[in-house]
């Protein structure tokens, strides 16, 4: 597997990482090595095998859809972790230009 710099850049963009040129080169090379090793999975016969996403054996777990108030101090402390708050709400930059 070969990865062009453009492809690595595209992956970084999807991952919301602003990588430097050096990082793009390094990760490009390392991804190539790692995916080269992962090719080993081609040896395994997977005909008719179902995929496993989780091992609990559980299907949907339901609960009543009701609002539970969060303890006041914890709520206040959680909000204060945000870099910018206004009127008890987290402020973000403009989304639409």
């Amino acid at each position: 597997m070969e990865l062009s710099k453009e492809q690595v850049k595209h992956i970084a963009n999807l991952a919301r990482l602003d990588l430097t040129d050096e990082e793009l080169d390094l990760y490009g090379k390392q991804l190539k090595d790692i995916f080269g090793y992962i090719e080993k999975l081609q040896e395994v016969d997977i005909t008719g095998i179902e995929p496993t996403a989780q091992v609990t054996g559980q299907v949907n777990i339901y609960r009543e859809d009701k609002v539970v108030d969060w303890e006041k101090t914890e709520r206040k402390n959680a909000l204060e972790e945000a870099p910018e708050i206004e009127n008890n709400q987290i402020k973000v930059k403009r989304v639409l230009e």
Partner: protein, 483 residues
């Protein structure tokens, strides 16, 4: 013997007899931390004031007649577990100043039981690593040889137990993160069955394999901690609706006639010294009346490539939450919303975290999903079925924890692939959600070697029973590093 060197069981008996109180025991641990941790670097945050307050409260509860296995026992916690009002960094720069607003369920349970929280312990950033070297705050040094890695990702909690900075610790295990360092540092590390202990309040890494568990000085202590932290949690719907046993009830039961599975072919992935140690243990079990049954796990070796697709994929999704908006580091120079995301993440994350996010993003991206992620999920099924099938013949399976002893710091850190290959004996139990415990089993050149016992799902009881028996006939676990 200093009191910080005691096991939970020993300390509990002495607390009961009033030979010392929890404040004294807590102070002994805090003193040990200040004595040795500059060299080991196991702790990221030590909360002396809070710890002494917890200890005083525990002493008060005891005076009022309360009893409890963990009442007044000091412990350390891996820093990817949320602890209310205390800095919780996950070993990452992106959460350098993050104060957890609430307690993880397992922390709440330990506090209710009267255990004394001493502080937060080092780890590979967000649990991404097998050596402890990926912490943004520097590597943890192995107490047995300070030039060597402690193993990871639960590097700090394990090194701290090994060097007697606490009586026990909590870690998390996603693909070996409790077992690997336990093997390198001569302590007991249990990865419970997936869903046995709640993940609520853990910094999610790989949601389909993450599980918190105890790191202790004996198997008996691990049973005592699991009993407190295990159980169904409505805040984590993946926790199993399975009864939590009183694990000490069966721990001394006779082991004669129990069947141990040994996969000879798989064992060859370990170095000769390690195989020798496993064979000695096997001989001891056989002499004690257990039956050794050959088992075959030809797909276990695919655990690594499966793990390194599934894990980064889940990571790339789980770590999307660190975006500089609701908490954590924000790059103040960014002028746009997108810029806040990309620049905060680039500056806040270390290289292994970025590498895993990149691998996962690629594996899940359009055009590659079937070839990588879906295929890995199918091979995961094969690994699970193979284990299920072999477990019809045996009560537990024994393999090494690590293919070799702890390596030198810096020796492998330039080659991520080589590092991933260290997980050869660890991934299968994680992918299948089975309980597995690493127990001290010998030494190679004065460096510890762990043996791994893998059990049937939710059958931690069997691991404790056989592990405890092994600790009655051997004394490896009583050996301490010279520090």
């Amino acid at each position: 013997m200093k009191i910080n060197e005691l096991t939970i069981k020993q300390a509990q008996e002495k607390l009961e007899k009033e030979e010392f109180n929890s404040v004294e025991l807590t102070k002994a641990c805090l003193e040990r931390i200040s004595e040795v941790d500059q060299k080991i670097k196991a702790c990221l945050t030590v909360c002396e004031g809070e710890a002494l307050a917890f200890a005083e409260e525990a002493d008060l509860r005891r005076r009022k007649g309360e009893k409890g296995k963990l009442l007044g026992i000091p412990f350390l916690v891996k820093d990817n577990i949320m602890t209310r009002g205390i800095r919780s960094t996950g070993g990452s720069r992106i959460l350098e100043n993050y104060i957890a607003p609430y307690d993880a369920t397992i922390i709440k349970k330990l506090k209710d039981a009267g255990a004394v929280l001493l502080g937060k312990a080092n780890l590979d950033e967000f649990g991404h690593g097998a050596s402890g070297e990926n912490s943004a705050y520097g590597p943890t040094h192995n107490p047995w040889d300070l030039e060597r890695v402690s193993g990871g990702s639960s590097s700090g909690p394990v090194a701290a137990v090994s060097a007697d900075m606490c009586i026990f610790a909590l870690g998390t295990d996603t693909g070996g993160s409790i077992r690997c360092p336990a093997s390198f540092c001569n302590v007991v590390g249990l990865k419970p069955s997936y869903g046995r202990s709640s993940r609520f309040g853990l910094m999610s890494m790989t949601s389909s394999t993450d599980v918190p568990g105890p790191i202790t000085k004996t198997v008996e202590d691990a049973a005592m901690v699991l009993e407190v932290i295990a159980g169904k949690d409505e805040r984590d719907p993946t926790t199993g609706n399975v009864e939590v046993q009183n694990y000490l009830d069966n721990i001394n039961k006779d082991i004669k006639g129990l069947k141990i599975g040994i996969p000879e072919d798989y064992l060859k992935e370990a170095s000769e010294d390690i195989i020798k140690i496993i064979n000695e243990a096997k001989g001891n079990f056989e002499k004690s009346g257990m039956k050794i049954i050959p088992v075959k796990l030809p797909h276990a070796k695919y655990g690594i490539p499966v793990y390194y697709i599934i894990t980064p994929s889940e990571i790339s999704s789980n770590l999307a939450r660190y975006d500089g908006i609701r908490y954590g580091y924000r790059d103040e120079e960014a002028s746009s919303l997108l810029g806040i995301y990309t620049k905060s993440r680039d500056k806040g994350f270390g290289s292994e975290v970025k590498r895993r996010i990149m691998i996962g993003t690629y594996a899940l991206s359009a055009g590659y999903y079937d070839a990588y992620y879906l295929r890995a999920q199918k091979v995961r099924t094969k690994i699970i079925k193979e284990l299920d099938q072999e477990f019809e013949k045996v009560d537990l399976i024994i393999v090494p924890t690590q293919p070799d002893v702890a390596y030198k710091i810096g020796e492998q850190s330039d080659d991520p692939l080589k590092m991933y290959l260290e997980d050869i004996f660890l991934s299968p139990a994680s992918l299948a959600g089975l309980p597995a415990i690493s127990i001290p089993a010998g030494f190679v050149n004065n460096l510890p070697v762990g043996m791994q016992l893998i059990g049937k799902k939710f059958d931690e009881d069997m691991l404790f029973r056989v592990g405890n028996f092994f600790q009655k006939i051997t004394d490896f676990h009583t050996k301490k590093p010279n520090i």
